[in-house]
């Protein structure tokens, strides 16, 4: 049983799922679900749609080159059944999967490394550049128009008007 990849999102198409479209030059487009099929019909480019694997690979969001990806490959020669080999393969799958997940986590961590410092720097810069927008507490006491409570008072006045109207 062969598990194909979706043409649009590159996820695995399991048997009995999805739809395949055969163009007149015999190229087969397989889709994992109607979402991908619809996007194909809308002539969208998977490299420009953010949720696809193609986009994430192209923009360095995901790990692209790794030795763990070498195990998943299209082989056109059928493998002869061997009990020991099957057992070892099943054991290896778990280990390889663990290694892959770890490496992906490391990749994500390295990608996000400078983010916190950058945000901090930006916030500091904003504070320096737009300090004039912040008023000192003494000024606020002198000029009540700048404070929030003034607006609150206004709202309460409106309410009182309305209640008066209701009473009438």
């Amino acid at each position: 049983m062969r598990l194909e990849k979706c043409w649009f999102c590159s996820s695995t198409v399991y048997p009995g799922h999805g739809i395949q479209f055969v163009r007149n030059d015999a190229k087969i487009f397989r889709f994992c679900r109607s979402k991908c099929h619809k996007n194909f019909k809308m002539k969208r480019n998977p490299r420009k749609v953010k949720w696809t694997k193609a986009y994430r690979r192209l923009h360095g969001k995901d790990m692209t080159q790794d030795s763990t990806f070498e195990f998943e490959r299209k082989r056109n020669r059928p493998e002869r059944y061997d009990r020991n080999l099957a057992e070892n393969t099943l054991k290896a799958i778990k280990k390889i999967d663990k290694v892959r997940v770890d490496r992906e986590a490391r990749h994500h961590a390295s990608r996000m490394k400078g983010k916190k410092a950058k945000e901090h720097r930006e916030a500091e810069k904003e504070l320096v550049q737009s300090i004039h927008m912040v008023k000192a507490p003494a000024v606020l006491q002198h000029e009540p128009s700048l404070t929030l409570p003034k607006i609150k008072v206004k709202v309460s006045q409106q309410q009182s008007e309305e209640t008066r109207a209701m009473e009438e």
Binding site: V13, P15, G16, H17, G18, I19, Q20, F21, V22, R23, N24, A26, I28, K41, M42, E162, A165, M166, E168
Partner: protein
């Protein structure tokens, strides 16, 4: 005073609603137009029924045929792999088949999706047939991709002649 307020509120409310409604209708209309244009640019994805025009993908000499009857007594029409009765609309000069001839044909490609034995679906670019004469193929070649479902029919020869089986 209350009446005044009420009238004011209702007026505002109505104008708001009206604006919303007009907006939404505009959005709906544009999307509808888009879908329509998309739909008409593609092949009709329905059953093959009376007056459906199909392409002929063998070297029998016919170019285009029209379905005049779907056999198998299905109410809705023929699908991928079904046999139909056709009348030849367009034919090459000096071909085996002349214009106006009525013969049987097998649908080898259909734009309407058809379920496969494993539960997935398959669909093609166009509607195409191969012409038959007394249960035998008229042509000696089949062009383009052909589904492997034809193996279950009487016309396995189509698969042997085809260049691509999907």
């Amino acid at each position: 005073m209350a009446a005044l307020f009420a009238s004011k509120w209702s007026h505002v409310g109505r104008s708001l609603l009206g604006c919303l409604a007009s907006n939404s209708s505009g959005v709906l209309r544009t999307s509808h137009e888009m879908t329509c244009s998309n739909y008409f640019s593609q092949q009709q994805r329905t059953f093959i029924q009376m007056r459906t025009k199909l392409k002929v993908v063998d070297n029998s000499g016919a170019k285009e045929v029209m379905c005049i009857q779907a056999l198998k007594a299905r109410k809705k029409g023929a699908r991928l792999g079904d046999t139909i009765v056709v009348s030849v609309r367009e034919a090459h000069p000096r071909g085996k088949v002349k214009k106006g001839k009525v013969c049987h044909a097998v649908v080898v490609r259909a734009a309407m999706k058809r379920g496969r034995c494993d539960g997935s679906e398959v669909k093609f670019d166009d509607n195409a047939v191969v012409l038959l004469e007394k249960g035998e193929l008229i042509g000696t070649r089949v062009f383009g991709p052909v589904p492997h479902e034809l193996r279950n029919t009487k016309y396995v020869k189509i698969l042997t002649l085809a260049d691509h089986i999907v």
